[in-house]
């Protein structure tokens, strides 16, 4: 049997939601109860992409762009309105056991751990549900708890854990069946910087060691910068960009940043004629200039000021993405 290299195939996927329209206030509530008015919300407007085995892909998009909807359709939770969806050779919606045994969806704001019991009980339940042998279970549990540094938390009641501890245990529980595909929805939301890093390191390791396919959504740029090569930018249910993150920056950063360290005080006003001052913290000055005239601007600065140091840098990725969503980027054909 040949294994398909494409673990995820989506063609022309659309998803519409019926949303009950409700006017504000009590009167509105009563009105909607008596005469419900539904409006159709088009969450996905015909998106297509494929993912190969072992890829780690990031979804970028503002709230309500359709990222989570996509993940929920891929994991079989939502019924697609139209289009073709195939994951690991299965139609996710059918929820075949062989399919479910090989996927996992982790949501930063949802948990599967039993709130009132220690995490080990939820793990034992998953062991039975996924039909994992005792030997495999012990091995994987040791490995996962080591990686995430939560071995000593297994027998603490879940409600008593901190968010970061709980999230890491969620990962252990979600991965105890070693899924081939992992869908992560905002995995680092609400975590402190150290916990974020632990989770990120773990995702990286898991992707590498198991050759697992990982699809990840995040608003945290560090997640994407650290983990993903390929990103899919999605907004209002449409894919705006699908390709390397570095490529995105290169082709869509319209500006460069010139950072100057002045050797002595001078007339700052003159900077304004060269470019846009984005940060002023004397003796440091940061300027944003159009990409094509960066070299000219730099030489002008060197001629006009006493400069101790000068660097030309790429625009930060957040800025690029922000502009993408402002509609400055034209949809790729």
């Amino acid at each position: 049997m040949t294994k398909t290299e494409n673990t995820v195939i989506i063609k022309g996927l659309t998803k519409n939601f019926d949303v009950r329209f409700k006017e504000a206030g009590l009167a509105g509530s009563i009105k909607s109860l008596i005469k419900p008015k539904n409006i159709v919300k088009r969450a996905l407007k015909g998106i297509s992409f494929t993912v190969s085995r072992g890829e780690l892909i990031g979804f970028i998009g503002p709230n309500g762009a359709g990222k989570t909807t996509t993940l929920k359709i891929l994991s079989g939770l939502l019924y697609p309105t139209n289009g073709f969806v195939q994951v690991l050779g299965f139609n996710p919606w059918e929820k075949k056991p062989e399919f479910l045994k090989n996927i996992s969806l982790v949501m930063g704001q949802k948990n599967q751990l039993w709130w009132d019991l220690p995490a080990i009980e939820s793990l034992k339940l998953n062991r039975a549900i996924y039909e994992i042998s005792q030997k495999d279970f012990t091995e994987r549990l040791n490995k996962l708890t080591d990686l995430l540094d939560v071995g000593n938390l297994l027998s603490t009641q879940v409600r008593k854990l901190s968010l970061g501890q709980r999230m890491r245990l969620e990962f252990v529980t979600a991965l105890i069946h070693e899924p081939e595909i992992l869908f992560l929805d905002e995995p680092t939301i609400g975590l402190d910087v150290i916990a974020q890093q632990k989770v990120r390191d773990f995702i990286y390791e898991y992707n590498l060691k198991n050759r697992a396919t990982i699809l990840l959504t995040s608003h945290n740029m560090n997640d994407l910068l650290d983990l993903t090569k390929r990103v899919i930018v999605i907004d209002s249910g449409e894919i705006l960009y699908d390709g390397y993150l570095s490529e995105l920056v290169r082709s869509f950063a319209k500006e460069k940043i010139i950072k100057v360290y002045l050797a002595k005080e001078s007339d700052i006003k003159k900077f304004e004629t060269i470019g846009k001052i984005i940060k002023l913290d004397l003796p440091y000055v940061s300027l944003s200039v159009p990409r094509e005239s960066a070299a000219v601007a730099a030489s002008e600065i060197l001629q006009s000021f006493a400069v101790a140091d000068l660097t030309i840098e790429e625009e930060p990725i957040e800025g690029v993405i922000r502009r993408v969503f402002k509609g400055e980027m034209v949809k790729q054909s």
């Binding site: 989570t68 994991s75 479910l100 045994k101 704001q109 949802k110 009132d116 019991l117 009980e121 339940l125």
Partner: protein
């Protein structure tokens, strides 16, 4: 070879749901005080009903709707036991699981949601039943009510069958009512309150024996599933319904189990298509 595989998959299936059973029991035990208070409430409500009827029938030889003191007190004691088995259920929580989106957790796993809740229900009933047995014995010793112990084996057998059917009916009704949360998540609890608390209590015979109702209404009720939740099993136990009549009742209620099961499956399939996996 094939048989062996089939066997091992059966074993896995069993261990899946036995683990669900175990974790459900553990979960119930977390709120021990809650549980004890809930049982205490049951005991009090029995006291209340008992003394209410006892005082109504305190006048010698009073007969109301064909019930005298002994008959009504017997009904009430049987009621307590049957109610503990049939109405002790966690399945109402399905409403919340759908509305909050917690259903997603189960849908993502190779697990049959229907069997999962059936198992949780059995766990809850096991626990409640064991407590109900102790309570009933204690109350029996304290109140010393006139009680009728059935010794006809056929009646006992029919009673057990009717009880199992009642459990299945109640479970299916709860599952169907809970599915309303797919369409009107914010009204799930209101619908539960109206249907499972008000209507079911009233029509099942858990407040009063149904045969006190006017004959035509009583006859119509005997064709609905509600009749078979509480009233029918009790009457079978008391031997008031027996033989062909009991078998007929069991057949009617079994047909209802099949109808409700098919209805539940079809509603559930439609519901999953509109499910929005909320929670984000």
């Amino acid at each position: 070879m094939y048989l062996k595989e089939k066997w091992s998959s059966k074993v896995n299936e069993m261990s899946k749901y036995s683990q669900v059973f175990k974790i459900s029991l553990q979960d119930e035990f977390v709120y021990r005080l809650n549980f004890v208070l809930w049982r205490l409430r049951n005991v009090f409500s029995i006291f209340l009903v008992f003394f209410l009827w006892d005082s109504i029938f305190s006048v010698q030889d009073r007969v109301i709707f064909g019930y005298d003191r002994v008959k009504i007190l017997t009904y009430i004691f049987a009621l307590m036991f049957v109610k503990a088995i049939v109405f002790a259920s966690k399945t109402m929580d399905v409403t919340g699981e759908i509305a909050r989106g917690d259903l997603s957790n189960s849908l993502l796993k190779p697990l049959d949601y229907f069997k999962y809740w059936l198992t949780r229900d059995v766990a809850s009933k096991t626990l409640n039943l064991s407590f109900a047995l102790v309570e009933t014995t204690l109350l029996f010793l304290i109140l010393k009510p006139p009680f009728f112990l059935q010794n006809n084996l056929i009646s006992i057998l029919l009673f057990i069958v009717s009880l199992l059917i009642a459990v299945a009916l109640y479970f299916l009704i709860l599952f169907i009512v809970s599915s309303s949360a797919f369409w009107v998540p914010e009204m799930g609890w209101a619908i539960h309150f109206i249907i499972t608390i008000v209507i079911l209590e009233f029509l099942s015979g858990s407040l009063f024996p149904l045969d006190v109702l006017p004959k035509p209404i009583f006859s119509i009720l005997s064709f609905t599933p509600f009749y078979y939740l509480i009233f029918f099993p009790i009457e079978v136990y008391l031997g008031k319904i027996s033989g062909g009549e009991a078998v007929r009742g069991i057949l009617i209620s079994f047909v209802w189990v099949v109808i409700l099961y098919l209805l539940m499956r079809s509603i559930w399939q439609k519901g999953l298509k509109v499910y929005q996996a909320y929670g984000r």
